[in-house]
């Protein structure tokens, strides 16, 4: 159990059976008055935000959250299947839960899956992934038209802007936080 005085930004608590993360927090106490713990929280499943002021005697359950390393197996329809390589247990997340992360998922990639109890609710990707370029316009040497970048498609179907020298078949590193090209990778 947490008490109100444990509240701080980033703390994860459970309220009415749902996991919440505290996104903003401020301690207030008017002179001679009671301590007030003003918090803004985000529901970690629905993404809904709300604000609430708590008092010293309020108590909170710890959110039953666990992160497990899992391997991406395959996608079928809108379901993305993952496996825990230590016990071969399989789970899936749907497309909405994964959001932009589907742009970087390739078979056998290891990711961190966040579980709330038995339920997988979120995935965190490695900060950088290396993906193969499947479609790119050829680089015309000596082209001085001034365009600094060109669009390419990588093996997941994701389209991004890269420098003109990147060619089909190259592996490139992408920052999963921004979706930006980082560098060309030598195999």
């Amino acid at each position: 159990m947490f008490s109100a005085s444990d509240l701080r930004k980033g703390l994860k608590v459970q309220i009415d059976g749902q996991p919440f993360i505290i996104t903003e927090f401020e301690f207030s106490k008017p002179g001679k008055g009671q301590a007030l713990y003003r918090t803004k929280m985000r529901n970690m499943i629905t993404g809904n935000q709300f604000t609430q002021t708590y008092r010293s005697n309020d108590k909170f359950e710890k959110a039953d959250l666990e992160e497990r390393t899992m391997q991406f197996l395959y996608a079928q329809d809108n379901e993305f299947h993952f496996m825990d390589t230590s016990n071969y247990e399989q789970i899936f997340l749907n497309k909405d839960q994964l959001g932009d992360n589907i742009n970087y998922l390739v078979e056998n990639m290891e990711v961190q899956i966040l579980f709330f109890g038995e339920r997988p609710i979120d995935v965190s990707m490695p900060m950088f992934v290396n993906l193969e370029v499947t479609t790119a316009d050829p680089w015309v040497k000596g082209d001085t038209s001034g365009t600094d970048t060109k669009p390419v498609t990588v093996e997941t179907g994701f389209v991004l802007q890269v420098p003109p020298f990147v060619e089909q078949g190259d592996k490139i590193q992408i920052d999963t936080r921004t979706g930006d090209y980082v560098t060309r990778v030598k195999e």
């Binding site: 001679k32 009671q34 301590a35 002021t53």
Partner: protein, 305 residues
């Protein structure tokens, strides 16, 4: 940790404050920090130290000195309050507290105007003050020229909420309304005195003669920050005892804390004359003068305990 510049400004402010009071014949005192009994205030939690308490303010020993005949006292000291940590709070902080016999809270408000005007002139090199002696906060200019705004608690609740102070207390919403709806609006043109609190929120303050439901207590706000709390002191030992009984009971019920009646203090009250006293957050004053936004930037060191 604060910067070297902030350390220098802090040192300078200590000297400016001392000089303000000593040139006005106030006596500086350094009363004990370790006390056998503390003033029971249900919303203030103390640190226990073996069988004693670290003081939460120097109010108890300073009033005992006033009862012995001192008439103008000031003190700059560290105070300790458990569980207080935030943008404007540290569990150990520096308080400037002063008392003036023969005055009521009204004269004290006037002295606050004089005090801050003087301090701002002396500290004009600080980045929170412009050449005209105005405070600068989040891009706004706050004039320190008197007279400052005076707003009663009843007027403030009338303006910023749907409840009267009494209704708010009954529904346990007084502090929440104060913090979220009223405080952020106070003291932006000039500093604001919020005054005349319901008696239950001024446990050590005298009741107003013409309206005994309110206590002669004020809080000073500048740029939404509560800087100081002053009042006409309650010097009736019997009335004070009744209020302490209530506070001690509140602490027992709400926090399971058992405090004893500070008998020595109550005895001394009977020889005290009419006095006004005020506690001002020294660290917050420095925040306002320097334009900084968090109290830990202005104290020499924060060592998490």
């Amino acid at each position: 940790m604060s910067s070297l510049l902030a350390l220098q400004q802090r040192s300078q402010l200590l000297q400016v404050v001392r000089s303000f009071f000593t040139t006005r014949d106030f006596l500086e005192v350094d009363t004990p920090l370790l006390l056998p009994n503390i003033i029971p205030e249900s919303q203030i939690l103390s640190f226990r130290c073996e069988d004693s308490f670290l003081h939460t303010s120097p109010e108890l020993p300073m009033k005992m000195l006033l009862a012995q005949g001192a008439d103008k006292l000031f003190q700059i000291c560290h105070c300790f309050r458990k569980g207080e940590r935030g943008r404007l709070h540290l569990p150990e902080f520096t308080m400037l507290e002063w008392y003036r016999a023969g005055w009521s809270y009204e004269e004290l408000m006037l002295q606050c105007e004089e005090f801050l005007g003087t301090v701002a002139k002396e500290m004009v090199v600080c980045s929170g003050i412009d050449a005209d002696g105005d405070l600068l906060r989040y891009g706004r200019k706050i004039s320190l020229l008197p007279p400052w705004q005076r707003l009663s608690v009843a007027e403030a609740f009338g303006e910023y909420s749907d409840l009267s102070p009494e209704e708010a207390i009954e529904q346990d919403l007084f502090d929440e309304i104060l913090v979220t709806k009223i405080e952020p609006n106070l003291g932006w043109e000039r500093p604001t005195f919020l005054y005349d609190y319901p008696v239950s929120l001024g446990s050590l303050a005298r009741c107003k003669e013409e309206n005994p439901t309110v206590a002669e207590r004020f809080e000073l706000y500048i740029g939404g920050i509560e800087l100081a709390n002053g009042f006409s002191e309650l010097i009736d030992p019997e009335e004070q005892r009744r209020r302490f009984v209530y506070e001690i009971e509140q602490m027992r019920v709400n926090s399971n804390i058992k405090l004893s009646m500070p008998e020595e203090f109550l005895q001394s009250l009977s020889s005290m004359q009419d006095t006004a006293g005020i506690a001002l957050g020294f660290d917050r004053l420095l925040m306002l003068l320097t334009g900084l936004d968090r109290v830990e930037k202005i104290v020499p060191l924060v060592l998490e305990v």
